[in-house]
Symmetry: C2
Subunit: 332 residues, 2 copies
């Protein structure tokens, strides 16, 4: 493998000069530069980023701990993050935390060992007591994504409360009074905030939450299907449902269909999270869509400025969602 030393020898200059032409870190005589470039060309030299990282103390690498790569929402998020990062000359290392502190800890440790310059994490339940402080202790810049945590660092997520509230309000406006809700995984802020939105909308209409109407779908398709099936099998079943994430929406849909019920005739449905093909489901889904690209790009922007030494107060950014009015809600 050719090294900078080889290139230097061939070009008849010092490694310092080679380094500088490679990185553009100081002026070098055009003619000398030519020679160096020729030598690089000739040898097919490639810089060794590992050595560079060790010497410079920066890896130009960012770690991402995400909860479920298979969820299209997160996949899109990874895509957005990767894109912004690569535009800035960084590289992305991803790890899937499966939404458990155990796996999260493993991926975070691995990322930390790798000396990533910064870290983006979608914290799983309980990580503010374990992995998050650990990251902060190392001094590695950190930004939380999708969910928040009661910890001192930048955070970016969607405006969940408002979105869930609007979704629920729409159902109320349509006259529904017994509205079921499928709640996500316990312990993460996206779940609690979305639920808060639901509660707030009911409160706006002077309606108290009926515990019988809230089911825990654990942000999981199968669980949601089972729970919704139970809920919708009751004689006093709700006339409408709000599903609080995409995976659970699939479950709810399956449950309702399995029961031979029709949407929106037997039960109206609105959902948090949109699908690229939401239009093609029968019925077409009324949904609150997150602006994933903005969430991802914002997280990267915040992180990079921390990496560049920004020392301001941590920011908490909320990205607005979009209401897609289709017809699973019962409107035509």
């Amino acid at each position: 493998m050719t090294t900078m030393g080889d290139v230097a020898r061939i070009a008849g200059v010092s490694v310092t000069t080679v380094s500088h032409v490679l990185n553009g870190t100081r002026r070098v005589n055009p003619e000398t530069r030519q020679r160096v470039e020729a030598a690089i060309e000739k040898t097919g030299y490639r810089r060794n980023v590992v050595a560079r990282a060790l010497a410079a103390g920066r890896t130009h690498t960012v770690g991402l701990s995400i909860s479920a790569l298979t969820n299209p929402y997160f996949a899109t998020l990874v895509h957005a993050v990767e894109r912004s990062l690569s535009d800035a000359g960084y590289v992305l290392i991803v790890g899937d935390s499966h939404d458990t502190v155990g796996s999260e800890r493993r991926v975070v440790d691995s990322l930390l060992d790798r000396k990533v310059d910064g870290m983006i994490v979608a914290p799983s339940a309980g990580s503010e007591h374990s992995t998050l402080p650990e990251i902060i202790a190392t001094g590695t810049p950190l930004v939380l994504i999708d969910r928040g945590a009661d910890i001192d660092c930048d955070q970016v997520a969607s405006e969940s409360v408002a979105a869930a509230r609007a979704l629920t309000a729409h159902l109320l406006d349509l006259g529904h009074r017994r509205i079921g809700v499928v709640r996500g995984l316990a312990g993460i802020t996206s779940t609690t905030e979305r639920f808060d939105g639901y509660v707030a909308a009911l409160a706006d209409h002077g309606i108290a939450v009926d515990a019988e109407l809230v089911v825990d779908g654990e942000s999981n398709t199968d669980v949601a299907e089972r729970e919704v099936r139970t809920l919708m099998s009751r004689p006093d079943r709700p006339s409408a449902l709000v599903s609080l994430n995409n995976a659970m929406t699939i479950g709810a849909l399956k449950a309702v269909r399995g029961l031979g019920l029709s949407i929106p005739d037997d039960v109206a449905l609105v959902c948090y999270d949109d699908f690229e093909w939401a239009d093609l489901f029968a019925p077409r889904l009324t949904a609150a869509a997150q602006d994933v690209d903005t969430v991802g790009a914002t997280a990267v922007k915040l992180l990079l400025s921390r990496i560049d030494g920004q020392q301001d107060e941590p920011q908490r950014i909320l990205v607005p969602t979009t209401f897609h009015h289709r017809n699973s809600c019962g409107c035509t």
Copy 2:
């Protein structure tokens, strides 16, 4: 930041010993080991994987160049790869090639500079003349995934020909004779093989391919929608359609619906690639599902054994698909 030297001093041993207890690379007196472990515990020492990689000449890192992170099929593939890799103590660096040689080259260069121990790539059209040889020239183990290339390295993909052939045959068995096909992005083997399967099925029934019935959807939803719309607007439109990838299926669905046509009454549809929610579309989609997890796990297995020095003939593995018989084909 604490280094191995600090730990060594505190434990009263040499860095050599610390290194060996950390890596389990040679026997060390239990008592000495205790001291070292205590020192590590006390200092909160974390190994510096960058320095380790430089010294050892291995990064324990694998690069993946994928064509479209937002496509659920690829997202699942990334997930499968990440999982297998992390089980083996490796870390995954992902780059999105957007299915163009230009971007692919950028991500591959970056990965190579990073001295990844191996590389998994879903080659975009034309990469056998540019990025693939480049990778091979560096001696970095390489395995191709999802698509093949006429190049000497391990490759793993789905049994596309058989799958597309079965899909088309099903339509023929149902009596269809004018069968349209939506073909994917030109220049990648997954596209040509799937098309070959379509052609083969027709040939089995003594039917020649009618060029008027084949449209290029470029593996893209919008393009497919436009092309299918044109195709289905013809007076002599086909009575059935086979869509050769998931993104194009969405487009085809939109086009057909936009035209006010009904599936399967006005046109039958079968598709390559399944959706987790294929059941929920109206109509339910008859599809050939790829075994993504196996594809991913196999690619990783092949790669790791190359990294470990395996020198056999390159293998080309074809993973079987599953036929999901639902009702967009017209069966009940």
